[in-house]
């Protein structure tokens, strides 16, 4: 029995489009903040993970690539990946890298360093990204710097997600996704003291 598709079952197109647009104009990276604030807002206001459960375009994209296009080995993830210490450890690491990116943006805003037109993959590899920076000159430098930094975060997590999608189950990323861990934590706080 196939379920009828809803509008939100096509959000993977938005996720794919986001990654593609970043190759043409880095300022589109700012739109990624939606995937940052919407899940948090839903968790805080409604106390559930409707974002993960329904609207996450990235999850849908991994599902599509892994299942429909058969790019996944479909094996269980290693045990450590789903443990609390790893999930929260990865969240803390991710947030630290995020703060580091915000600090770089601040340095550019304060005039202490100049704009670097690079996308940093896996927090290590600096990829020249000047080809998507044609419009970066028309905005305040820190606005462009944040775009490069945020796109780095999004591309890095997509690459990690693609690797685990190929090695394990399609949506293995969901197991250690920092946003997922954070929203689950918020839900736990919101519902503490309630009967199971």
């Amino acid at each position: 029995m196939k379920k009828a598709k809803k509008w939100y079952d096509y959000l993977w197109i938005v996720s794919a489009l986001y990654l593609i647009l970043g190759f043409f104009n880095i300022l589109f990276a700012w739109l990624g903040l939606i995937c940052f604030f919407v899940p948090l807002a839903i968790a805080i206001i409604s106390g559930n993970k409707a974002y993960c459960n329904r609207y996450c375009g990235r999850g849908q994209l991994f599902q599509l690539l892994g299942e429909r296009l058969r790019l996944s080995r479909n094996r269980p993830v290693p045990r450590f990946l789903k443990q609390k210490w790893f999930r929260y450890g990865f969240l803390i690491f991710f947030l630290a890298m995020f703060l580091n990116m915000l600090f770089t943006t601040y340095l550019v805003a304060a005039g202490a360093s100049s704009l670097r037109e690079v996308v940093t993959l896996l927090w290590t590899f600096r990829l020249p990204w000047h080809f998507a920076a044609s419009s970066a000159a028309s905005v305040t430098p820190w606005v462009a710097q944040f775009a490069f930094g945020f796109y780095s975060v999004m591309l890095t997590s997509t690459v990690l997600g693609l690797i685990t999608m190929a090695l394990f189950k399609p949506r293995s990323w969901c197991v250690y996704c920092p946003m997922g861990t954070m929203t689950q934590g918020i839900c736990q706080l919101r519902h503490r003291g309630e009967a199971k």
């Binding site: 106390g47 993970k49 990323w173």
Partner: protein, 66 residues
């Protein structure tokens, strides 16, 4: 025949909702965003959720005969 049903390891569930999407009987939900819950009256133990679960924390169990 013994009834089969899905059981979620709630301590390790990441509440992603992959199971909800594949369940043909709407027997599994993530009501509070913390873990998935199985409605035993609805579940037929088909195992689709267990197969889809990215964390592999769903198992199909068999009812004990009294």
């Amino acid at each position: 025949m013994k009834k089969r049903f899905a059981v979620v390891d709630t301590a390790l569930c990441v509440a992603c909702g992959c199971c909800v999407k594949v369940c043909p009987r709407q027997a599994i939900t993530v009501p509070k965003g913390i873990f998935a819950e199985v409605a035993r009256t609805q579940c037929v133990g088909c195992g689709l959720c267990a197969k889809a679960c990215p964390a592999s924390v769903i198992e199909i169990m068999q009812e004990e005969t009294p």
